[in-house]
């Protein structure tokens, strides 16, 4: 696999055009563009219902230069399974030729929650597709409701921080690990602030024969409550605090892709975001301690699994 080179990427045409209606500062379009830079083959894009889909395909317009299908909220993986099956059958019969790649995009709601069964089925069956979850940690499009990807104590409209309950009660589901347990060839966690890492992972995902899954942290100014122009700083904080470790699972091997020289305190990640504001009120220090403790434990697990500790 060739190295990811910014100069080379800058000469490629964008496959998601400008003029889509995603919010400024949204991570989804950045992720899509970076991922699509990773292949030169034609792709068929499937998309779950969500921010990305509703903002890019308002009839009679489309922001997609590749063929695109949206079916429903929970079935992007099953839908793309069907398109990929059509490709295999028609190719076998000599009715079509050339290489086409298949990709499905879903937000965390359409991936971790309602689309989970469809995703699990498609991964288990081994369809040659790349599934990309742009994980912004809530149902942002419908007004910021909690999902199973929402971090503990985040204040959302269905897990609001109140007088007696300080935001979401549960820690987020580790979907990347769950998909790895499907024994598929390639699974990775990435972040668009580290574009080299993301494009490299996307390239690997496209090139591998069989299903691949990328879980990509996707900043959301509306839901996370931060200034729009600070998205990349915030993502850097996510990896520096080890809230969002960058790792991959390839043919049974775990690899760590980023190990901060100095692990930053979790407050670097929590403090800039309005959804965690209540954690910094007097008397709530224990909540931050709990999150720190959990993050540390999880980081140790990842280090161990990736062979980075004794």
């Amino acid at each position: 696999m060739s190295k990811v080179n910014l100069k080379e990427l800058s000469h490629q045409d964008e496959r998601l055009t400008g003029g889509h209606r995603l919010c400024s500062g949204c991570g989804a379009s950045i992720i899509v563009r970076q991922v699509l830079h990773a292949t030169e083959d034609p792709v068929v894009v499937g998309c779950a219902t969500g921010c990305l889909e509703v903002s890019t395909t308002i009839y009679p317009y489309t922001a997609w230069k590749d063929s695109f299908i949206h079916n429903a909220f929970e079935n992007a993986a099953a839908t793309v399974s069907g398109v990929e099956a059509a490709y295999r059958s028609l190719k076998k019969q000599g009715k079509i030729d050339g290489e086409t790649k298949f990709i499905a995009f879903g937000g965390d709601g359409g991936t971790y929650d309602i689309g989970f069964q469809s995703l699990s089925g498609a991964m288990e069956r081994g369809h040659d597709m790349v599934y990309v979850c742009y994980d912004n940690g809530a149902y942002m499009n419908t007004g910021i409701q909690r999902s199973s990807a929402t971090p503990r104590n985040a204040s959302t409209t269905t897990s609001p921080a109140g007088e007696v309950i300080p935001g979401k009660q549960q820690f987020r589901k580790e979907l990347t690990d769950i998909i790895a347990a499907h024994n598929i060839p390639y699974v990775a966690q990435a972040s668009p602030h580290n574009f080299k890492d993301l494009v490299r992972k996307a390239r690997k995902a496209f090139e591998i024969d069989g299903p691949a899954f990328l879980n990509v942290l996707s900043p959301c100014p509306r839901g996370w409550r931060y200034p729009e122009d600070e998205a990349m700083d915030l993502l850097r904080a996510a990896t520096d605090t080890c809230f969002w470790p960058l790792y991959e699972y390839e043919n049974g091997e775990w690899n760590l892709n980023y190990n901060p020289k100095e692990k930053a305190p979790i407050t670097d990640w929590l403090k800039p975001q309005g959804r965690f504001k209540h954690l910094f009120k007097e008397g709530n220090e224990y909540l931050i301690d709990e999150i720190q403790e959990r993050t540390d434990r999880r980081w140790q697990e990842i280090l161990h699994r990736c062979g980075e500790t004794e």
């Binding site: 034609p42 068929v44 499937g46 889909e53 509703v54 395909t57 308002i58 009839y59 009679p60 489309t62 997609w64 230069k65 590749d66 063929s67 695109f68 299908i69 949206h70 079916n71 429903a72 929970e74 079935n75 099953a78 839908t79 793309v80 399974s81 069907g82 398109v83 990929e84 099956a85 059509a86 490709y87 295999r88 059958s89 028609l90 076998k92 019969q93 079509i96 050339g98 086409t100 069964q117 469809s118 699990s120 089925g121 498609a122 288990e124 069956r125």
Partner: protein, 393 residues
């Protein structure tokens, strides 16, 4: 060369699917459809078809993958029953709205609850407003004939809609019948190649399927769907005519059985039409002018043709193997009665809901309906507009 066989309904329908040789089948097993999927799996395993068989994890994904495959330019099929159709629900509507000519056998079964695996039409009747064409069969032969015609109907350029091929669970699906299968090459020639105008898999002509369709266009798209359903009427008739010329079998929208000079009549669909034919024969021997209209096409609803065929009756009983819980009768009854209203006809139309959850409907049960109709004719009085046949009350 056709081939006479004695097989179960499932074997006959599985052979139709083998002869159609769809590019993609995505299916999940559910009683009583299970055997159909199993038989088809064997054809795939034996290399008898070019199909890519997607063994999905649910009916929801079965319909989702079938939509994906069809949008990818493939001839795509699935099959289901009862709760499986219920689980597909949302995507069933999307398949029709996306104008994808998917063909789906529905092996009719009661929709829970409580759970019941036997035949009634609550599954497909529940999907009557989803935008699918619906064909019903009296027996396995007809289910076979409908399946082949469904491909032509759905794919027709004026239609482009999905088609449900309904077959009564167990009663038809699991019983052995004599039937005539066409030669493989005749089926191939009849259905032709599928060359859709648009496909996700044409990199030279990229398309967007299933965009956001808001106030400014959604209504027009629904109007186009209605046009397609209206067009389907002619196409169904033309395809039936062509099929009849080839096989000697087939009707357009319905079969009229001893209806010409009938004074009392029953309208039924599915396997009960066969039972009703025996009842009609018995009554005719006694000099009773009884007739039957067996409905093959429920969506689109052949309203005018139906009234034309039935308007000379004194009394008509509409048989419904499903309830609507409107307290005003079953789904077929609602449409038939509405059709008669426009015709300003004086035919009395009554409703019999029967056979729910597989409750056996015997010849004598149907005879008892005709006896009720005779009483209405004699008295000129309808005591019960909606009746429940064969229920313990």
């Amino acid at each position: 060369m056709s081939n006479k066989v004695a097989l179960t309904g499932h074997e006959i329908l599985a052979n139709a699917m083998r002869q159609i040789n769809p590019d993609v089948v995505a299916a999940y097993p559910i009683t009583p459809q299970t055997e159909l999927v199993q038989l088809f799996s064997q054809f795939v395993a034996d290399g008898k078809v070019d199909t890519d068989f997607v063994t999905v994890e649910s009916e929801h994904s079965a319909m989702s993958a079938t939509v994906g495959a069809s949008a990818g330019g493939a001839r795509a099929m699935t099959a289901t029953a009862a709760n499986g159709l219920g689980l597909m629900w949302e995507v069933v509507y999307i398949a029709a709205s996306t104008r994808l000519p998917i063909v789906m056998p529905v092996v009719n079964r009661a929709l829970s609850g409580p759970i019941n695996i036997h035949c009634d039409h609550s599954d497909s009747m529940g999907a009557r407003d989803s935008g699918w064409i619906q064909l019903y069969a009296e027996d396995a032969q007809e289910a076979y004939d409908n399946a082949l015609q469904a491909i032509r109907i759905g794919e027709h350029e004026d239609v482009r809609l999905p088609v449900m091929v309904n077959m009564d669970g167990f009663i038809i699906s699991h019983a052995v019948e004599n039937a005539e299968l066409l030669a493989d090459k005749d089926v191939k020639e009849f259905i032709g190649d599928y060359n859709p105008d648009h496909s996700l898999l044409d990199p030279e002509n990229q398309i967007t399927v299933g965009p956001v369709d808001l106030q400014d266009f959604y209504f027009e798209h629904k109007r186009q769907q209605i046009d397609a359903m209206e067009n389907a009427k002619d196409v169904i008739a033309d395809v039936a005519q062509e099929y009849k010329e080839m096989t000697g079998r087939g009707v357009e929208y319905f079969e009229e059985y001893k209806l010409d000079d009938a004074e009392i009549g029953i309208l039924a669909l599915g396997s009960t039409a066969g039972t009703a034919k025996v009842a009609v024969d018995q009554l005719r021997e006694q000099g009773v002018k009884a007739g039957l209209l067996k409905l093959r096409v429920f969506r689109p609803f052949p309203s005018e043709e139906l009234v034309e065929a039935l308007k000379h009756l004194d009394v008509l009983a509409v048989m419904d193997r499903a309830e609507t819980f409107s307290t005003t009768g079953g789904p077929v009854f609602a449409d038939v009665r509405s059709a008669f209203y426009d015709a300003k006809s004086d035919v009395e139309v009554v409703n019999y809901v029967y056979g729910l959850g597989g409750r056996d409907t015997r010849v004598e049960d149907v005879v008892s309906v005709y006896e009720d109709l005779q009483e209405i004719t004699a008295s000129g009085k309808v005591d019960n507009r909606v009746n429940y046949l064969g229920v313990r009350e």
